[in-house]
């Protein structure tokens, strides 16, 4: 994936169209973007953090604190998830 990752990503819609115990489905807020994207719980939490004020580095730090994971691994996982969301048009 080659999408450029915004420093402070923002959701393109305000709420998931469907939630279930282990995740949710979100859709882009722009009509010309691709279709719906299913998110697991961690990806959903990251999507919820995309308020346009929270930096990707802050998200990575929070994931490291909460799950006590290696920072390099956390950064890779967070950036991969966010790039997929950019590709799907659910954040920008």
């Amino acid at each position: 994936m080659t999408d450029v990752l915004p420093v402070r990503p923002r959701r393109t819609s305000s709420e998931p169209v469907e939630r279930w115990p282990e995740g949710a489905v979100v859709v882009p807020g722009t009509p010309d973007a691709p279709g719906a994207l299913a998110l697991n719980p961690t990806a959903l939490a990251l999507w919820e953090l995309c308020d346009g004020n929270t930096a990707v580095t802050e998200m990575v730090e929070a994931v490291c604190v909460l799950f006590a994971v290696d920072p390099t691994r956390a950064r890779e996982d967070v950036e991969t998830a966010l790039r997929e969301m950019v590709s799907a048009g659910v954040i920008r």
Partner: protein, 219 residues
């Protein structure tokens, strides 16, 4: 695997214990009082303690800390808006279950923490991560700026914490309900980026925050 279930209601505790024993094939003991719990912990070999937030009242974070220090993993059952999840995690909990998640959610949480992972329910995860982000931003702010973010009532509560007052005493001094006092405490903890009342008390003392309305006494 040995699991302890701490819940003030014997009926609920025994029900949870039976479910966990059946689903996880574990030895599960139930405690209905803090004395029972301490005795069961002292027997040793506890892998996981499931602690209902109502079991310890205001002292849930302290008990959480004690249990995790004793060596077991702690899963806390919480109610919406009642506890600071970040405070519980900072106190040593590795699993959070909302009471509304039911027994299936409890089994999932215990299974997750026994595999060495942290468990936060999907619907709480975004909010908890946001709490972490806010707390880290506030850690980087000068203390004076953080104090300025408190409302007059929150500053008063902080001063009372610094003088050793507990929730009940704060509620009585400010003529508010204990629930409201607890809400003020959780909000000021969030604004100051602190993880516990103990940290708040130390912050109040080190920054000379004193209650302005009333003298605190322990008589």
């Amino acid at each position: 695997m040995r699991i302890l279930v701490a819940h003030p209601s014997p009926v609920v505790a025994d029900g949870m214990a039976a479910t966990l024993a059946e689903e996880l094939g574990a030895q599960v003991d139930a405690a209905h009082t803090e004395q029972d719990l301490r005795q069961l912990v002292a027997d040793g070999g506890v892998d996981v303690t499931v602690l209902d937030a109502n079991f310890a009242g205001d002292a849930v974070a302290r008990l959480c800390h004690e249990l995790s220090e004793a060596g077991g993993r702690v899963v806390v059952i919480t109610r919406p808006g009642r506890e600071s999840h970040l405070e519980l995690l900072a106190s040593g909990a590795v699993g959070i279950v909302a009471a509304t998640n039911g027994l299936a959610g409890l089994v999932l949480a215990v299974r997750t923490v026994t595999q060495g992972h942290t468990h936060v329910p999907a619907h709480l995860l975004g909010a908890v991560l946001h709490e972490v982000v806010v707390a880290r931003r506030q850690e980087e702010q000068p203390a004076g700026d953080r104090l300025d973010s408190l409302s007059p009532r929150e500053r008063e509560v902080l001063g009372l914490l610094g003088h050793g007052a507990d929730t009940r005493e704060i509620a009585a001094r400010l003529v508010i309900s204990p629930y409201t006092a607890k809400t003020h405490i959780n909000r000021l903890l969030g604004k100051l980026g602190l993880a516990s009342r103990t940290e708040a008390a130390a912050f109040a003392v080190s920054h000379h925050v004193n209650p302005t309305l009333l003298e605190v006494s322990h008589d």
